[in-house]
């Protein structure tokens, strides 16, 4: 009996001790979420969705804001590499400028999964999950041609020149519109994806080309800036404004007839996919598609009821 009791006590002690020790060592693995800027609601949604999905998968996730500054981004990567992170969900500041950071992470055996913005290399990030900007802008171009009946003049506000998204959007749009000789582009300038900058540029464009029929903008922030300039010039309702993103204010503006159309991106899908890929990588999976385009959908006054900001209505 005594022997049995002491055996039971020993087993209980072992169980208690092992549970204590496992509690001590069971700290969660960490995933870093590096976002180009949190000064734009689109990227806030992207970062939050990535963090949330990583946490749902059982990881600790921390968001780093690069403030659209490549040096800041490098500082973040330096910290992340020395702090035991297991993966990086990355929204780069620059297709070329961010390469060194991803290379440093790769050399430190930390897998990088790009979200929304592409880096100009195929062999550094494990996977890049990106909006299909080109196809989205083909849809916008088709709507643009239809609404203008293939005739008229327009201007274009480009995004950040060093961002591949800028050119994929512009080229998708022009792949349609340039086939119609009745449509003439009067000016093309960068608004740097920024609302205030776009408003200033649009004001100058309106002074130089007061008779334009439309403006194509590389994102929704610029579309709202362009709308402010058009409104101030007393031309609201006379110039068709096109955006890209699916931001809340643009969805409302489409409903109110202030903006003609936008391309709906799905940042939550991109962020969640990146987090899931990172989780699989940490668990040992090694085969991933290097580039994963995510479809973009056309939102106009006719179908705006099917959408909310950055996604479909349930």
């Amino acid at each position: 009996m005594k022997l049995l009791l002491s055996l039971l006590l020993t087993i209980t002690s072992i169980i208690i001790l092992s549970s204590c020790s496992s509690n001590k060592t069971e700290s969660k693995e960490k995933i870093a979420v590096v976002i180009s800027t949190l000064n734009n609601p689109w990227f806030v949604v992207l970062g939050d969705a990535a963090k949330q999905r990583a946490e749902e998968l059982g990881y600790d996730a921390v968001i780093f804001d690069s403030q659209n500054n490549p040096s800041k981004e490098t500082e973040h990567f330096d910290n992340i590499i020395t702090s035991g992170y297991k993966a990086i969900l990355f929204n780069p500041t620059d297709a070329k400028g961010s390469l060194a950071n991803v290379k440093a992470a790769k050399e430190a055996d930390i897998p990088v999964f790009c979200m929304d913005r592409e880096i100009d290399a195929n062999d550094l990030a494990i996977s890049q999950i990106l909006s299909d900007n080109y196809s989205g802008c083909v849809l916008l171009g088709q709507d643009f041609v239809k609404k203008l009946s293939g005739k008229g003049t327009y201007v274009e506000l480009l995004g950040i020149v060093g961002d591949n998204n800028t050119w994929n959007r512009s080229r998708g749009f022009h792949s349609v519109v340039d086939g119609y000789p009745g449509l003439r582009m009067e000016a093309q300038q960068t608004g740097e994806f920024d609302r205030n900058k776009a408003m200033e540029v649009m004001e100058s464009m309106l002074q130089a080309h007061p008779k334009i029929n439309a403006v194509f903008c590389g994102n929704d922030a610029m579309a709202m800036g362009a709308y402010q300039a058009v409104l101030a010039a007393g031309k609201a309702g006379k110039i068709l404004i096109y955006g890209f993103d699916g931001a809340a204010d643009v969805i409302t503006a489409i409903r109110e007839g202030k903006i003609e159309a936008t391309g709906m991106q799905f940042p939550r899908t991109m962020a969640q996919t990146a987090a899931e890929y990172a989780g699989k990588y940490i668990q040992g999976e090694r085969r991933f598609q290097k580039k994963v385009p995510v479809a973009v959908e056309l939102v106009t006054k006719e179908n705006v009821g099917n959408y909310v900001s950055y996604g479909k209505s349930k």
């Binding site: 100009d120 990106l130 080109y134 196809s135 591949n164 994929n168 349609v176 598609q289 385009p293 479809a295």
Partner: protein, 207 residues
Amino acid sequence: MKKWIVISAAFVLAVAALYESIYFERLDAKNAKEMIRKVSPKETAEYFWKNELDGILETAIDLKSFDSVLAANPRALVQRYGKAVGITSNYCFLVKGTATRIVREAERIPAVITNGHANYQLVARHIYGNTARDATGYFDIDDFRNTMDFNTLATELNAIIVKEVAGRALNAISPGASMHFIGAVEINADNIPTEIAIVPLKLEAVR
């Protein structure tokens, strides 16, 4: 006996691990990938058009079968024949059938299909988007240096179609005449349309 079981299990595990770490690909596929990385999207499109397209067109589905399966079970159609790139509800297919040219200057040419569930029209001008590229199922986005090259390839392929098919081949077919076609279509699996555009990849007069 037990020893043999352990050895066999270890062998199976080793083979599985090896399979996970390496995979084999056909030499011609490997060469095509290498070529894509080295040359411009325009050259890739031209090479594909001259050397690879004909074999791929043999896999096209008869338009009447496509139409009936689309109406009865679009999910099955997508699963069996649909081709897509990335995360999307849009799927591309190769279809074949006949169409009749009614007038010389037309944006679209109706395809002949009796009791069809949808209306099908060949696009005769203004060809854009990724439908032709993706319906062939030949190109892998990972073989391209960046997404811009992958998209430029679609533009270059469309330019060839405008010139060679919608231009040269179509011009050889008189108004009133019928033609066999093989083309590419794109369908949104969540929202099946009733008007479906076909990007022509091959046209031949019915003799």
